[in-house]
């Protein structure tokens, strides 16, 4: 098949000129690169007790950690420092290796303390953490 030429005079250019399309596509590309957001949030996973399963009683095997609204941390009816949470969790998980941790935070307890406690419990080797709030 013979190619039809619009203006058959010049013999040099046979294909479509792609340069304008490339300009246009590159502009679009730059726009999308600039507006793109790459969010990669690191985080900690925490369970919430469902309405069916109430927070377990004290006689169950779970380790309870309380966080008061002033940021105090209570384990086993003792106020402890955040750095002592890990040691406490390690000791209690050695007694009951399959126990989980229940964190009872007061409504106005700071989230920073909560995350620190969750972090310490993770470091103590327990990943089954449940988070509940009290009045």
């Amino acid at each position: 098949m013979r190619k039809r030429r619009a203006s058959g005079a010049d013999q040099e250019h046979t294909g479509i000129d792609l340069a304008p399309m490339l300009d246009f596509v590159t502009n679009l590309l730059i726009f999308f690169i600039i507006t793109a957001v790459f969010v990669k949030e690191a985080g900690l996973e925490v369970n919430r007790p469902t309405s069916f399963e109430q927070p377990q009683d004290e006689d169950s095997k779970s380790i309870q950690i309380q966080i008061l609204e002033n940021g105090e941390i209570w384990v086993d009816n003792r106020a402890v420092d955040v750095r002592a949470v890990r040691a406490n969790v390690e000791r209690m998980s050695a007694v009951n290796p399959d126990s989980g941790v229940l964190i009872l935070a007061q409504e106005r307890a700071p989230t920073g303390t909560l995350v620190e406690v969750v972090d310490q419990v993770h470091l103590g080797g327990i990943n089954n953490i449940t988070f509940s709030t009290t009045q």
């Binding site: 900690l44 919430r48 307890a109 993770h122």
Partner: protein
């Protein structure tokens, strides 16, 4: 100046732009697709730090909680009662989405718990609390 030619043919004088156009279009499509997947919170808060924080690739619905209890999602401030319908809508659009709650260090744990409950009632089970990985 005369341009040096190795081949005797005189038809093609310019660079062939077609491969570059292919490449650029591929990049363009990549950026168009990735931009639409992430729902940003719209504000920056002071996140707590944690040593055990890990990045999750698919965490793409971000909910921010300020220290005064304001909840931000999709670049707008929303009421706690609006979290659930919005999450339900987004969950229907893409069921694989996971939620990252970005809570300020000074925000109340009670608000975080409420938001987690609303998100879970909307049908999204996988969520995490954002924390900066400690150095």
């Amino acid at each position: 100046m005369q341009s040096r030619r190795h081949t005797p043919e005189t038809e093609d004088t310019g660079i062939d732009l077609a491969p570059m156009l292919d490449f650029t279009t591929n990049l363009l499509i990549f950026f168009i697709i990735t931009t639409s997947f992430i729902k940003e919170a719209g504000i920056t808060v002071f996140k707590p730090t944690a040593q055990t924080a890990f990045g999750r690739d698919s965490g793409n619905l971000l909910i921010a909680i300020r220290e005064n209890g304001d909840i931000w999602m999709d670049r707008r401030r929303v009421d706690i009662r609006d979290v659930r319908p919005q999450m339900e809508r987004l969950h229907i659009e893409r069921p694989d989405d996971t939620v990252v709650i970005i809570a300020d260090k000074e925000s109340d744990a009670g608000v975080v718990a409420e938001v987690m409950d609303e998100v879970r009632l909307a049908g999204i089970q996988i969520m995490s609390i954002a924390a900066d990985p400690a150095g």
